[in-house]
Symmetry: C2
Subunit: 173 residues, 2 copies
């Protein structure tokens, strides 16, 4: 019923595999969806509290190795709300692409500084792409083809970006 936001739904989605703590949800998001949709502790903990109040999750409080811990379980109502969200029309992409803003105003820089910035950015893109390649084997162990698809998207996107800025750099020189 509840018209959940995307972050609210990601949290429910994480809990579909197994019950976990807020900390583990954050870890999972960082390793998987963060490339295309991130969430901070400052979002996650308040949303978990809200989900509890709405009955979408239930909380199991326990002490593990002497450490206090809250394990969140997805309720039937929570899974139903998640499915309702999942079937909705996807929202358009929004992004914060700092490099493109700089390119937009490149006419204020010398040709040399333009090339410097583009080269620096290409280094970052190549580095990031390599990190995505490195986590590929771990993701393959998921045995969920859709998790692999989203990782594939990330790699394809960074290949697109690298080729695009390589072309830009050669145009500048």
């Amino acid at each position: 019923m509840a018209a959940n936001s995307t972050v609210e739904s990601i949290i429910l989605g994480c809990l579909t595999t197994h019950p976990m703590s807020g900390y583990e949800i954050k870890q999972l998001i960082s390793l998987s969806t963060s490339l295309f949709y991130n969430a901070s502790y400052g979002s996650i903990y308040p949303i978990l509290k809200k989900h509890e109040e709405s009955g979408l999750v239930s909380v199991e409080e326990l002490i593990e190795n002497g450490r206090f811990k809250k394990i969140y379980h997805l309720t039937e109502k929570g899974y139903s709300a998640f499915l309702t969200w999942l079937e909705e029309t996807p929202q358009p992409i929004t992004m914060r692409n700092d490099m493109l803003v700089r390119l937009f105003f490149f006419n204020n820089l010398t040709r040399e500084k333009q090339s410097d910035i583009t080269r620096m950015y290409l280094d970052h893109l190549r580095d990031f792409r390599q990190r995505l390649e490195n986590i590929a084997p771990a993701a393959a162990a998921y045995s969920d083809p859709y998790k692999e698809y989203t990782l594939r998207w990330g790699k394809d996107f960074y290949v697109f970006l690298i080729e695009w800025y390589e072309k830009l750099l050669s145009d500048l020189e």
Copy 2:
């Protein structure tokens, strides 16, 4: 001097071409950078006030056709702060990609619903791409190659997305 944020710098960047009102800045952003970096009135007006207090812009208040209006001028200090920001290392991309979150959790849907959502999304992408093609002639009139580059990036990105989801759809079917 001032460690400006990207939105703060976009506003300064807009004023490098000619003095304009907050309303005109918003219009300009919507037509140009919004694809890769958007800003709302709720950001723009408070930032303009802040820029005025920092001496990065000066304000000219006037009445045009009986309507009250504030025209913001970039000061030398403002242009200098803009250049300082422009030469900094670009920040990594962050995005909100709702469709990829749904794909990440596609295992919770029937094959038919998966295809429906993907097809709907492809319609949206094709529509959006067409709108980008339509504004191309207007942007060409800028006579600034870097403005054209960023528009080119937008079009290339949407071509990438359309091809990617066409492939996904054929995999699903």
